[in-house]
């Protein structure tokens, strides 16, 4: 019971710290690629503190509710994702500890997919309450982008779930630790998932939902002060959630939290390197891209998985 409560507090804490670190790391990495120094890694923390001290306007109850619900949803999603460790069935490894996943037995990967919806949908509601067409356009683009990457993403997770025959994320992780990572067993799905990873993270070339130059930051157009601070934190946690999901599905989780976080940083670095050199695409191109190459690869993998079962 005590360990459960400890896990429930520890998981979101890790997500928060690593999320902010990922945000700062992205700015630093891109700066270094641009051959300049860039802000310190803890710059997002400074930004959040500064935003909390600013008294920004509010457009009503739904405006504030959207922000609170988005962050709450992201935090709850973290509780359902394993953050390293092994379950008892996977055998013992010298550096392993018990699986850090407080609510692993309450519904599995399907619940995670649904909880990952909380963020975008709540921000959509709050942005609608912003009474600004820039925000509405941003939400429309955000939803279309989500539709674009959902089709290959669903194919990818269905292939993984079919291959391992289970809906539970903890089971998928432990089976990968026993018999080989997802990269080796469902390779085409891994490639497809990596191709849509920038779309799921909302970084270039798919950062059109919150395009500052085109639509004045999209859904965030009217958000400032403490609301923007919470949304920055939510962005960080969302980055962490998506990458943690990728690591759990394809890189076998981690035997302990440290290896898991190393893998997270590795994947994030790879995604940022892609993002640093590509320009932003339009939503039609995003839809076309996500529905051709990643979908094709994921479909091929799913057919192979179904046929070989």
């Amino acid at each position: 019971m005590v360990s459960k409560i400890l896990q429930i507090v520890l998981s979101p804490a890790i997500a928060l710290v690593i999320g902010m670190l990922l945000l700062g790391l992205s700015r630093k990495v891109i700066a270094r690629i641009h051959r300049r120094y860039g802000p310190p890694i803890y710059q997002p923390v400074i930004d959040v503190v500064r935003m909390m001290s600013q008294a920004s306007i509010s457009h009503g109850a739904l405006f504030e509710l959207g922000v609170v619900l988005a962050l709450a949803g992201s935090i709850v999603t973290v509780l359902f994702i394993p953050l390293g460790g092994t379950s008892a069935a996977a055998g013992s490894h010298p550096l392993a500890h018990r699986l850090l996943c407080p609510l692993s037995s309450s519904g599995g990967l399907l619940v995670v997919i649904y909880l990952m919806l909380f963020g975008p949908v709540s921000i959509a509601l709050g942005a609608g309450a912003s009474e600004n067409p820039n925000a509405s356009i941003g939400v429309s683009r955000n939803m279309l982008l989500a539709l674009a990457y959902e089709v290959p993403f669903l194919l990818v997770i269905l292939a993984v779930m079919s291959h391992y025959g289970t809906v539970s994320l903890a089971d998928i992780v432990s089976r990968q630790q026993q018999s080989g990572w997802g990269v080796l067993t469902v390779p085409l799905s891994t490639v497809a998932a990596f191709l849509i990873l920038p779309a799921m993270l909302g970084i270039r070339p798919f950062d059109l939902a919150g395009a500052p130059q085109e639509i004045a930051s999209g859904p965030l157009a009217e958000y400032g002060g403490r609301y923007l601070a919470l949304l920055t934190i939510q962005n960080g946690i969302q980055l962490f959630v998506v990458i943690a999901l990728f690591v759990n599905l394809f890189l076998g989780g981690g035997v302990n939290v440290v290896t898991f976080l190393l893998k997270v940083f590795g994947v994030f670095l790879a995604a940022e390197l892609v993002s640093a050199v590509l320009p932003r695409v339009r939503i039609e191109n995003a839809l076309k891209f996500c529905w051709t190459w990643p979908t094709g690869l994921a479909l091929a993998q799913m057919i192979i998985t179904v046929v070989s079962k």
């Binding site: 979101p12 935003m51 909390m52 001290s53 600013q54 008294a55 920004s56 306007i57 509010s58 457009h59 009503g60 504030e64 609170v68 709450a72 949803g73 935090i75 709850v76 509780l79 037995s105 309450s106 519904g107 399907l110 619940v111 919806l117 909380f118 949908v121 959509a124 509601l125 609608g128 309450a129 009474e131 600004n132 067409p133 509405s136 356009i137 939400v139 429309s140 939803m143 279309l144 539709l147 959902e150 089709v151 194919l155 269905l158 779930m161 079919s162 809906v167 004045a216 157009a221 009217e222 002060g225 403490r226 609301y227 919470l230 339009r282 939503i283 039609e284 839809l287 998985t305 179904v306």
Partner: protein, 618 residues
């Protein structure tokens, strides 16, 4: 006995309400609301009861039977609840409309017919009540005049085609098995040949498929549901199409039964597979057509077709989890869709008839309760945790994935994503964004509209947080069909087939919400501003026109619109046009001149005499 009392109350009150309307409007309203509530109470009393009653001992040599069991009770209580709430809603909506009298009595008649369908214990009563429901619904749809006449005509023609199919099936059963009482028919089916079973499935399936708007039999629904009056649209989408679902359940699991059902058909082209794939297509394509709509009620109508696809997919898939999910989703969709239709009806009523999504906006400030409940209903359609839509969808997905049909699971998950798109479009274009000048003085929905909306929203929330209540009933129904027992807890499932605990999710979300809210309070608080103080690149905001609704999902619409034309509708219209051409030729036979008719008679007699004298036919 209870079913007879219920049916007598329903039909009698339909007549009494009409007569009361001639006397005074208030009396009619009171009587209508009272009788619908009495029906809810009576049905509630019947929970857990079982029994059969012969109510007409000799009708052309057949007995007509009513029966009560858990499956009938489940659908009956849904019907009664939705119709009673729709009647309460009509108190304000139908005030000062000439067709109000007819509306109340016909709604009660439709309710009586639907209750008769679920309580029918033999196929002939089923058919009789089915027909009563069909034509009273037709009259009620056409009540609005104008485009509703065309919509109603399309509906009744397709419904009659389905009923003819059902009649052929009924006659086949009677001539083949000699009995019409459902338990006896079920026994007789076990010994029948697979071809006979397939014939019965197809003929009855045609009727049920048309009524439940399965692709390709769905083309009547968008017109009919959008042109009917809003309270009746809620009844139509909420419970009338569930009668088709009830028919499927009855046909597949009570009459034909589990053992026979999976064997019907050739190698991989089994009945079950075909129906699964039709269900999958019904989930995906109408959902995306709904995304393209700009009329609020048409969007909801196409969305109904999509959600029914889930139910058909679950039913035809045939595992315990899938069937439980499908029947639970029937309840969930009834709650959510009727709430959405009532909410859109309230908006339409208060803005003077505006349904066009391009012209509304910002009404959440003027109609907060309607918005909050519409939001809940939208989230319930998507299946967000904490609403009643989460558990049934989880059950269906789980069942499809674990039994190795990932492509069907893909179709249903894509359907959910399409649902997110159109739900947001509906909510944003009506309730969010800026409030146009001409709607600045829109009043809140009247009390008699708010009460049903609130009650339905409460239902969605309660069944979402405590899904065990409906799950227990659904699970018991599944057991009567012969499925394995599922261990249902108050908060979800605890069986080896699947573990789901909604309580954890709920508590986690609530605690996280409180924590984040407290963190937000730590930040500096700013003033609240009106919609005129919005970012507009440094200029003053144009009053009420700074709003993005037209072409909301433009890029997607342009990409997929060419692929999503309703070709089935075009095909049926083409058939109708060709038939009209043929008929306009054969109509020349009627010259209107008595002499030609005399000529026809004499030539026909001459032909008969010729045949008799030459070939001695008789």
């Amino acid at each position: 006995m209870l079913p007879t009392t219920i049916l007598i109350v329903a039909f009698a009150s339909a007549g009494l309400v009409y007569l009361a309307g001639k006397v005074h409007a208030r009396l009619r309203n009171a009587l209508a609301v009272l009788s619908s509530l009495v029906l809810v109470g009576l049905i509630g009393l019947g929970y857990g009861a079982w029994g059969e009653l012969v109510y007409v001992p000799d009708f052309l040599g057949l007995e007509l039977v009513l029966r009560l069991n858990l499956l009938a009770w489940f659908f009956a209580i849904t019907v009664a609840a939705v119709v009673s709430l729709s009647t309460i809603f009509s108190l304000s909506y139908m005030r000062r409309k000439e067709s109000a009298n007819f509306h109340y009595s016909a709604t009660l008649a439709v309710e009586g017919a639907m209750l008769g369908i679920v309580f029918a214990g033999d196929l002939l009563s089923f058919f009789i009540f089915w027909e009563i429901m069909s034509w009273s619904a037709y009259l009620l749809i056409s009540c609005n005049r104008g485009r509703a006449l065309e919509a109603g005509l399309k509906y009744i023609i397709m419904s009659l085609v389905g009923s003819c199919g059902m009649l052929i099936g009924l006659l086949a059963v009677y001539t083949g098995l000699g009995v019409l009482r459902i338990p006896l028919v079920a026994e007789g089916m076990q010994a029948a040949s697979p071809g006979f079973v397939l014939l019965v499935l197809l003929t009855f399936g045609l009727g049920f498929g048309i009524k439940s708007a399965m692709v390709p039999l769905h083309t009547w629904l968008p017109d009919a549901h959008s042109e009917a009056a809003s309270p009746f649209s809620a009844v139509l989408s909420g419970v009338l199409i569930k009668m088709g679902i009830y028919g499927f359940v009855l046909l597949m699991y009570v009459v034909v039964g589990l053992k026979l059902l999976f064997g019907v058909g050739a190698a991989w082209l089994t009945f079950r597979h075909v129906l699964c794939w039709l269900g999958a297509i019904t989930v995906v394509i109408p959902t995306f057509i709904a995304v393209l709509q700009t009329d609020a009620k048409r969007l909801l109508a196409w969305s109904s077709i999509g959600q029914i696809g889930y139910i058909i997919l679950g039913l035809s898939f045939g595992t315990s989890l899938a069937v439980a999910g499908a029947i639970f989703h029937a309840l969930n969709h009834a709650l959510c869709k009727s709430l959405l239709f009532l909410a859109v009806g309230a908006v339409e009523h208060n803005t003077g008839g505006v349904r066009d999504l391009n012209k509304l906006g910002g009404l959440a400030k003027r109609m907060p309760v309607t918005f909050a409940c519409a939001l809940l209903a939208g989230l319930g359609l998507i299946g967000i945790p904490l609403t009643s839509g989460f558990v049934p969808k989880w059950l269906i997905y789980r069942s499809l994935i674990e039994d190795g049909y990932p492509f069907l699971a893909l179709a249903s998950l894509i359907g959910t994503w399409g649902a997110i798109l159109y739900v947001y479009k509906l909510l944003h274009n009506i309730f969010l964004g800026q409030l146009p000048e001409k709607h600045r003085e829109v009043r809140r929905a009247p009390l008699s509209m708010r009460i049903p909306i609130l009650l339905l929203g409460l239902g969605i929330l309660v069944f979402g947080v405590v899904p065990g209540i409906p799950l227990r009933v659904v699970q018991a129904i599944g057991e009567t069909f012969g499925f394995a027992r599922l261990k249902v807890t108050l908060w979800g499932l605890a069986s080896e087939a699947g573990a789901l605990n909604v309580l954890n999710i709920c508590l986690a979300i609530v605690i996280a919400f409180v924590v984040v809210f407290l963190i937000m309070r730590l930040g500096a608080k700013g003033p609240q501003v009106s919609q005129e103080d919005s970012y507009a690149a440094g200029s003053a905001v144009p009053v009420g026109r700074y709003h993005y609704t037209v072409d909301f999902f433009g890029p997607l619409s342009r990409m997929i619109a060419p692929y999503l034309k309703d070709r089935v509708d075009e095909f049926y219209s083409w058939v109708g046009a060709r038939a009209r051409d043929v008929f306009s030729v054969t109509r020349r036979m009627y010259t209107g001149y008595a002499g030609t008719y005399v000529l026809y008679i004499i030539s026909f007699l001459a032909l008969l005499i010729f045949l008799q004298s030459v070939w001695k036919v008789w």
